[in-house]
Symmetry: C2
Subunit: 205 residues, 2 copies
């Protein structure tokens, strides 16, 4: 490749990147709105404004589309976690992460996947970007969890992994949808309610 070709190639790659971003963004919205099964590849193509066949030039299957959306949300989680002060109270950082998850969910930006779909699970587990992101997030949160337990902030009788899963599960917590559907509470109120029940529990203190 000659030197004069480099910018041209780079520009093309940037265009490609922009288009793929648009695709993943549309997939993210549709996954958050209707879930994996109800989302059709036709819809994705229509939202992006390209032909379905073009989609398949970028992503080999519907499962890979979903995986790309999960990589994206995992990247966002990593970005948020990295933005938190590492020297701060670990419990406060954990609260901040859960609050962030709830806000993304309330904004309708949290993609949800059916946990039982096996071909989807296989695609996700074969996706290194996703698995790396998942492990990175787990490590960061796990360290804070153990620190908070050592400091007597989080219950030490709960396995750290159970606490971690409890946080992850907030991303698909039906309480949020129930409360949102009722229309009785603002997004801020829902956030604080779920945060409170998650950390403080239901029993009076």
């Amino acid at each position: 490749m000659s030197a004069i070709d480099t910018p041209k190639t780079s520009f093309k790659q940037r265009m490609l990147q922009v288009r793929e971003d648009a695709i993943v963004h549309a997939v993210n919205r549709l996954l958050a709105e209707k879930g994996f099964d109800a989302m059709t590849v036709d819809e994705v193509a229509a939202q992006v404004g390209i032909a379905k066949a073009s989609l398949y030039k970028h992503f080999p299957s519907k499962e890979d589309l979903a995986a790309a959306a999960m990589v994206r949300v995992m990247q966002r989680a990593q970005d948020f976690i990295s933005s938190l002060p590492p020297e701060a109270d670990p419990l406060e950082n954990l609260r901040a992460v859960v609050r962030w998850v709830l806000q993304v969910k309330l904004a309708g930006d949290m993609p949800t996947l059916p946990s039982q779909n096996s071909s989807l699970r296989a695609t996700l587990m074969a996706n290194n970007d996703y698995m790396d992101g998942l492990m990175e997030v787990s490590d960061r949160l796990g360290a804070w969890i153990e620190a908070a337990q050592a400091a007597g902030q989080l219950s030490a009788k709960l396995p750290a992994i159970a606490i971690l899963y409890t946080f992850f599960a907030r991303a698909c917590d039906s309480v949020v949808e129930f409360l949102q559907m009722g229309g009785l509470f603002t997004d801020e109120q829902i956030t604080e309610l779920v945060l409170s029940t998650c950390f403080e529990g239901l029993i009076a203190r």
Copy 2:
């Protein structure tokens, strides 16, 4: 109808009831195992051992099949609630109900529906048996919740409806699946872990 016909008709109706029970039982298992979208009507027919067209003589649509399974699980919940001593500690009764939900779920008997599917929602809301059961359960739990709040057992700063939804959400809590998949904990341990995080929260007391 003559007197001699009555037993015959009644027998026929009993046979019909038995068959429909078998259908709903199969639907329940499939919904618990793979969810609504992945469950096919062909599968249901195969499991019951009848032709698909016969299914449609009993239930007019796939949505109605799912609704029948939800009616069944709601009926079971009512039965369990009725089996509890009304004069007992309301908080203990609530714990018992949540424990029951978790055990049904861990046994793979809890049907789950996609909350976003609108035609399914419409079918459910048009089903009087389901709506009556849902309201009955809500009333019974709601009374215990308010009693427990008045007694200073449950946090009084949480709206009762939010607590109720938190209980309902245990029926589709992904933490249970996460912990079950890991294989590190027994069903009893998972039950106690989720019960503890639900009522006592994550923060050390």
